[in-house]
């Protein structure tokens, strides 16, 4: 968002009272702390040795020595490393499918007056107001034979009406003279989309891509519904079973006994799994964050 006042006070603005400013600073510090403190202790605990975790009797606030033991143990065990692979694969493929389908669909919908424009738009907008329900969706996935396949984690949630509407609103804002001139030069719709519309919409496409990617990475419920085979579990299910419910990991079914023989610092391992689950969001986030406002607001206002 654009603001004229980047720093300092406007000429007519009087500075707040001292108490006000202290209160405000304190409130901001508390808010930031509430977000960052849990992440800090989780990462720190995952990096601590078993002795440290035992001595403290729980989460570690002050480190004494850093060790990668927990991570080493996780990645030598096929259950968690498999789950990371599954989640990564589903996220990459799913995001690619979702983005491609949404960009193409949104572009088609950004051209009012085209053939079947209204019925297609109607189809998409209906998704906003009515959710067909869990059980019919489950039956559909089952009858397509998608159970226990990775596609069951991708296809049912591949299209988001909200994301399409946001993209469409953005595409409609592109000056039509630009598209006209390309058309006069003989460019077809696909070329116009690829060469003109997409390069102009990098920001919003990146944000929508992030939304889809985060959705796939975090998806847990689809996996509980559709994936019975523990070898195909995504990381979110491991997180649920092992960290939230404290059930033992299904090592037996995989035939690897990573957590079996050494007495493991379970809490450190748990926290390492949490840290791995958080990591991708933290990595991509800084690159996309500055586009949020633009992307989201366009959706909110033009939607």
């Amino acid at each position: 968002m654009s603001r004229k006042k980047v720093s300092g006070l406007a000429p007519w603005e009087e500075p707040g009272s001292l108490a006000g400013r202290v209160g405000k600073g304190g409130a901001l510090a508390l808010i930031v702390l509430a977000v960052l403190l849990p992440l800090y202790t989780i990462v720190l605990t995952s990096l601590s040795s078993a002795e440290t975790v035992n001595r403290v009797g729980g989460l570690v606030l002050v480190p004494d020595g850093i060790t990668l033991d927990a991570y080493r143990q996780i990645f030598s065990d096929s259950v968690v490393s498999r789950a990371v692979l599954v989640s990564t694969g589903v996220t990459v493929v799913g995001t690619a499918v979702s983005l491609a389908v949404s960009v193409l669909g949104a572009y088609a919908l950004s051209r009012p007056g085209s053939l079947f424009h209204r019925p297609i738009l109607f189809c998409v907008l209906l998704m906003f107001v009515f959710f067909p329900g869990l059980i019919p969706t489950y039956l559909m996935v089952a009858s397509l034979g998608l159970k226990d396949t990775y596609w069951s984690l991708i296809l049912p949630s591949a299209v988001s009406a909200f994301n399409i509407v946001v993209l469409r609103a953005f595409f409609m804002n592109i000056p039509h003279e630009l598209l006209d001139s390309a058309r006069i030069d003989g460019a077809g719709e696909f070329r116009i989309l690829w060469r003109i519309v997409l390069p102009l919409s990098k920001a919003v496409t990146a944000v929508i891509g992030l939304f889809y990617a985060v959705g796939y990475w975090n998806a847990w419920f689809n996996a509980t519904l559709f994936i019975d085979d523990t070898r195909k579990w995504p990381l979110a299910l491991i997180l649920r079973q092992y960290v939230v419910d404290s059930n033992p990991l299904p090592t037996a079914t995989v035939g690897v006994s990573g957590f079996g023989h050494v007495a493991p610092p379970t809490l450190a391992i748990k926290m390492a799994i949490v840290a791995i689950a958080v990591l991708p969001a933290l990595l991509i986030y800084p690159f996309v964050q500055r586009h949020f406002t633009k992307g989201v607001i366009i959706g909110a206002i033009k939607g």
């Binding site: 989780i42 088609a108 079947f116 869990l134 847990w220």
Partner: protein, 330 residues
């Protein structure tokens, strides 16, 4: 032709003008339009296939709510139609009634204790003078929105659970720790706290955008007239936010039956179904877990239809209040 169509994106809501070009023919034949627009139809096809497969067909699959559905003997085509028996049974099911009561209770509670938080946070952020600091804090508070519910529940467990950080600190100081994660009496506080932690920061985006559109001249004029900070907030900032607040409030009401699915599924076993059973978890347990698919589908369909009515009604209220509404145009 299509170029003309683009210029009309502003007036698209008016039917009948779709083919009117300034100097060109009034109407072109279906064949001409097909020749012109087929690439667009090709582009829309993958989307339409997915929407058909995972929206339309499941939506029609709701007929099993009216059947004594048996996947092994008949499937959808062969199961006997039993009319509204499933629904009748539903309204006499104390578990279902409890799910409805819990859902509405949580919605009401969060309307009071969650809804104002992003507004307050946006006002606080907006009052931060340094642009850099504001951007930094914004970046940090958006973050939890991108964590999954599994992760949020795991994090809360590590903070507030029986073996968590708070209990640990309390024990170190000689108090007995409380396990908030399994306490059914405070469950509603817990889920609201989780929602605040996860989404309050993200929720500020739309309010911050609304704040940035308020004309600074208004503040200056008010300051010249002698209005100090609080008066300016009351008479300029809050009225400026009014449309967004009203819109989101209406949306929330239209969404009253959706209190979040995963959050409750995840914590159901820890606090018991008595307080954590909501609409969606009821559908899951009554339908998929016990295998009575027709019954679960009836509950799901009931929820979907009530939700549809609520959304349409909320949108109508928005229009009546002179707000833009949600589905008015697009």
């Amino acid at each position: 032709m299509s170029a003309d169509a683009d210029t009309r994106s502003v007036t698209e809501a008016r039917p009948g003008t779709a083919q009117a070009g300034p100097a060109v023919a009034r109407r072109s034949a279906f064949g001409d339009r097909l020749r012109r627009d087929w690439p667009l139809l090709v582009m829309a096809t993958p989307m339409l296939v997915l929407v058909t497969g995972f929206w339309w067909i499941p939506a029609l699959g709701n007929v099993i709510a009216f059947q004594d559905y048996n996947p092994f003997t008949g499937g959808i085509l062969g199961s006997p139609i039993i009319g509204f028996t499933n629904f009748a049974q539903l309204f006499g099911d104390p578990q279902f009634i409890r799910a409805v009561v819990n859902t509405l209770g949580i919605t009401a509670f969060q309307l009071v204790f969650y809804f104002p938080v992003p507004i307050a946070l946006a006002l606080l952020l907006n009052s931060v003078v340094s642009g850099r600091l504001r951007a930094l804090v914004q970046g940090i508070v958006y973050l939890p929105h991108f964590f999954s519910w599994v992760l949020v529940v795991a994090i809360f467990q590590q903070m507030f659970g029986g073996a968590g950080l708070i209990a640990q600190i309390l024990r170190d100081h000689g108090h007995s720790g409380i396990d908030w994660m399994t306490n059914s009496d405070t469950f509603i506080l817990l889920v609201t706290a989780e929602t605040v932690w996860k989404d309050a920061g993200w929720g500020t985006i739309v309010f911050l955008a609304a704040l940035s559109t308020i004309d600074p001249n208004l503040y200056e004029a008010a300051a010249v007239d002698g209005a100090r900070r609080w008066r300016r907030m009351w008479h300029i900032t809050l009225p400026g936010l009014r449309p967004v607040i009203v819109l989101l409030l209406i949306l929330r009401l239209g969404d009253a039956l959706n209190v979040g699915f995963e959050q409750f599924m995840l914590q159901r076993s820890a606090v018991g179904s008595k307080v954590s059973e909501v609409f969606d978890t009821f559908v899951y347990w009554s339908g998929l877990r016990t295998g009575d698919l027709g019954y679960g589908a009836a509950a799901g369909l009931f929820k979907g239809l009530v939700g549809l009515v609520l959304i349409l009604a909320a949108n109508r209220v928005a229009h009546a209040l002179g707000e833009r509404g949600v589905y008015s145009r697009s």
